[in-house]
């Protein structure tokens, strides 16, 4: 018994640097935010807080914006994540071959993940502009110009820009591909398997854990997008507090503007906690489906 206590104390002592930092900088602010979401906190009335119960949460479901924004966010996620994952994987498959200059391509495709968001968005903003490169290409084929940042195409443009960064998953995909044993391919070759069969019977099944990881991270990231729409289709100055065009009014954009443009801190906290629950639910759903399609080499514990 004494031995056990000693071990427990030792365990917590050893993890204490991380654990204390987590409590102080992770858990405490989060719970504090949760508490604020039940008050009427407005940015300056800290000494005069009133509890308002679920008022802010009710507002999320009754105001004209939050649910609309959630719908747009889910739409962007549903398009962005599968496409992004597929592109990331295909690029990795191409780059996995031993071709000359492979390293250069790897760098090029990974570059969008290194360029700061603000500069890449500004670059795209010019490419999407009326005299931008995209319209020039359309012009070359005698096609009509498109208002890329206007009402009808803004979301398409946003998704194109997001997919440009799909190479970010290349590193982890490549690591996954390198981990597939060579013997499997050799055995398949001996059995006379075609390249397609190898891809669909060996590579993809063995890559499912990596794909699964990319999908989960992609969904979590996609639901929290806010900087790109604000910078790409913000209405006026390239400032963070401007409103993007209606179609790109995503959920976290809404929360960000409510908190920092309108000082509706409490309502913003409620918005973010609801987002947390949505992310949690989607992740749980994805995890339950995973046992039907994700292939693990080793037995997984419950």
């Amino acid at each position: 018994m004494k031995e056990k206590t000693r071990r427990i104390v030792a365990f917590y002592l050893m993890i204490s640097p991380w654990f204390i930092v987590f409590l102080l900088l992770g858990l405490y602010p989060m719970l504090y935010g949760l508490y604020l979401s039940f008050t009427n906190y407005y940015g300056f009335n800290m000494n005069n807080l009133k509890m308002v119960g679920f008022h802010n949460y009710r507002t999320v479901f009754t105001d004209s914006e939050a649910l609309y924004a959630m719908g747009r966010t889910l739409l962007v996620t549903v398009i962005n994540v599968p496409l992004g994952t597929a592109i990331g994987l295909s690029l990795a498959l191409l780059l996995n071959r031993n071709i000359r200059g492979g390293g250069v391509f790897r760098t090029i495709f990974y570059l969008p993940s290194i360029v700061p968001v603000i500069s890449s968005v500004l670059m795209w903003r010019f490419m999407f502009s009326n005299d931008g490169i995209l319209n020039s290409i359309l012009n070359l084929f005698h096609l009509p110009r498109i208002n890329w940042l206007g009402y009808d195409y803004a979301t398409v443009s946003l998704i194109i820009m997001l997919l440009w960064g799909a190479g970010g998953g290349i590193l982890i995909n490549l690591a996954g591909l390198k981990g597939i044993p060579k013997e499997l391919y050799e055995a398949a070759s001996i059995d006379g398997a075609s390249a397609f069969q190898k891809l669909f019977r060996i590579t993809l099944p063995l890559m499912t854990p990596v794909i699964f990881f990319n999908v989960i991270m992609g969904v979590i990231g996609s639901l929290q997008i806010y900087l790109q729409p604000i910078l790409l289709t913000g209405s006026e100055r390239s400032e963070l507090l401007t409103r993007p065009i209606q179609n790109n009014y995503l959920y976290v954009v809404h929360a960000f503007l409510q908190i920092f443009a309108f000082q509706r801190f409490a309502y913003g906290m409620a918005l973010l906690w609801i987002l947390f629950i949505v992310i949690l639910l989607i992740t749980i759903i994805l995890f339950t489906t995973s046992k039907f399609w994700v292939h693990y080499e080793t037995e997984q514990e419950g």
Binding site: I8, Y28, M46, N48, S235, L241, R243
Partner: protein, 464 residues
């Protein structure tokens, strides 16, 4: 079980520690607040000889290192520290009680809002007794920093503008008028906004599909689209009020609001400037300095840009200022749209030193320096003559300005609870109109609904 118990006790311990911290922070904040109470002016924490640091969010472009050094030499007991904050950071700093002592603000939108939030210090008595700032020498525009709880322009003084401009005036490029074969309007009397729009359409030149010259840019930074600020000037001229007298609600369903929106939506659809429809990403200011747009809505300060810009300073004679337009049938007004300046943080620990700095910055030598530079208008009658008057360009602008000054004593009607939240709400409902996705009745209805939610929540938070 044992594990859980240990975890629980650890957590509890931390919670206790943290709540203790929180309690301390709160109580010390309260005592600060009483310290800094004005009636307690003698109770300031700076004893003689002690050096105190005054933090200000005035930017380094507006307060140079040399100026700071000069001030610190004259006042060895005060150190000035620049604490640049954007709106986001300031909101966070105000929330944690860590805001600068002298806070840079947009006079028109922030002052009423900061007053009702109890952030701005009443400096009426300091101004009354000041030897640097002569109250009788102030132009009416300085009163934009006064607020009596309901209306701007009356009540206690909460701060001063560092400078200001007649922000709704029109700058023109004579060459562009000649290209279009349109005569220059008479600068001695204002046009109406609808006349400006008609003029803008005539000045917009096309070569086939391509626009070679725009008629109008709505601002130096963005697109030729309406904005909340600009609408408030139109409403002021039309004599239309959208806020209830106690500011507890706002109603955009007003004929003047609809006229304003319709007029602008038509202008956007006619592509008189870069906008969301033609997706031209060049800013109004770039177009104007390159001679590709005939008119630009901006205040006196824009003359500073023209004097400094490489493209324009060689032929300044081509440019000039027209008075701020009016609503059709409305009265002539030329209010300021911003009047950037500062307030003193009510919770400052050093109200006396903060005032010393404030007085020097707004009434002392920096004020003269600013007036001479021509980047904005002074707030003192006696300093107006310091403005540049050398070149023909300076003279034209200065002359139009003399008239404009007579009409600058009206203030934009800003709802203190809504403050500048109006910008985003206005944009949200007007933007779909350009694309024909909504109609003006729905737009004003939506604006009214959203704005009243914000007002209601702000009022609930302020009510003790």
């Amino acid at each position: 079980m044992k594990k859980a118990a240990t975890l629980l006790s650890l957590t509890l311990l931390l919670v206790v520690i943290l709540s203790a911290c929180g309690g301390n922070a709160n109580s010390s904040k309260n005592s600060d607040a009483t310290d800094s109470n004005l009636s307690d002016a003698t109770n300031t924490s700076a004893e003689s000889g002690e050096v105190v640091t005054i933090k200000t969010s005035i930017s380094d472009g507006e307060l140079s290192k040399d100026q700071i050094a000069e001030f610190e030499k004259e006042h060895p007991n005060i150190k000035i520290e620049l604490d640049p904050v954007d709106a986001t950071k300031l909101a966070a700093k105000l929330a944690t009680g860590d805001a600068p002592d002298v806070i840079r603000v947009n006079g028109v939108f922030d002052v009423p809002n900061y007053v009702i939030k109890d952030i701005a210090m009443d400096i009426s008595s300091q101004i009354e007794t000041s030897s640097v700032i002569n109250k009788d020498d102030l132009l009416p525009i300085a009163d934009v920093y006064r607020f009596d709880g309901k209306q701007v322009g009356a009540g206690p003084i909460y701060g001063l503008p560092k400078d200001w401009s007649n922000d709704f005036a029109i700058w023109y490029n004579k060459k562009a008028f000649e290209t279009a074969g349109v005569p220059l309007p008479d600068p001695s009397k204002p046009l109406t906004w609808s006349e400006i729009m008609d003029l803008a359409k005539k000045l917009t030149m096309k070569d086939g599909d391509k626009i070679t010259q725009y008629g109008l840019a709505a601002s130096e930074w963005g697109k030729t689209e309406p904005n909340f600020n600009n609408m408030l000037q139109y409403l002021l001229s039309a004599g239309a009020k959208i806020s209830a007298s106690d500011n507890a609600s706002v109603n955009f369903d007003n004929p003047a609001v609809k006229d304003y929106i319709n007029m602008w939506v038509d202008a956007v659809k006619s592509n008189v400037g870069p906008n969301s429809l033609n997706n031209d990403q060049t800013s109004g200011g770039d177009l104007f300095t390159q001679g590709k747009v005939a008119m630009l809505i901006d205040g006196y300060w824009y003359g500073g840009v023209l004097r400094a810009n490489e493209n324009t300073k060689t032929h300044l004679g081509d440019f000039g200022m027209l008075p701020a337009p009016t609503a059709p049938g409305g009265k002539r007004v030329s209010p300021t749209g911003a009047a950037t300046g500062a307030i003193i943080n009510k919770n400052t620990k050093h109200p006396k030193e903060a005032w010393t700095f404030f007085e020097w910055y707004f009434g002392g030598k920096p004020a003269d320096d600013r007036a001479k530079s021509g980047w904005g208008l002074p707030i003192f009658k006696s300093k107006v003559s310091l403005l540049p008057q050398d070149t023909d360009f300076d003279k034209q602008v200065y002359q139009v300005l003399q008239d404009e000054l007579k009409y600058s004593g009206d203030y934009l009607e800003v709802n203190p609870y809504l403050s500048n939240s109006g910008w985003a709400i206005f944009d949200k409902y007007v933007q779909p109109l350009y694309f024909g996705k909504s109609n003006v009745d729905e737009a004003v209805k939506g604006m009214t609904k959203d704005a009243n939610v914000v007002i209601q929540e702000a009022m609930n938070a302020i009510k003790k």
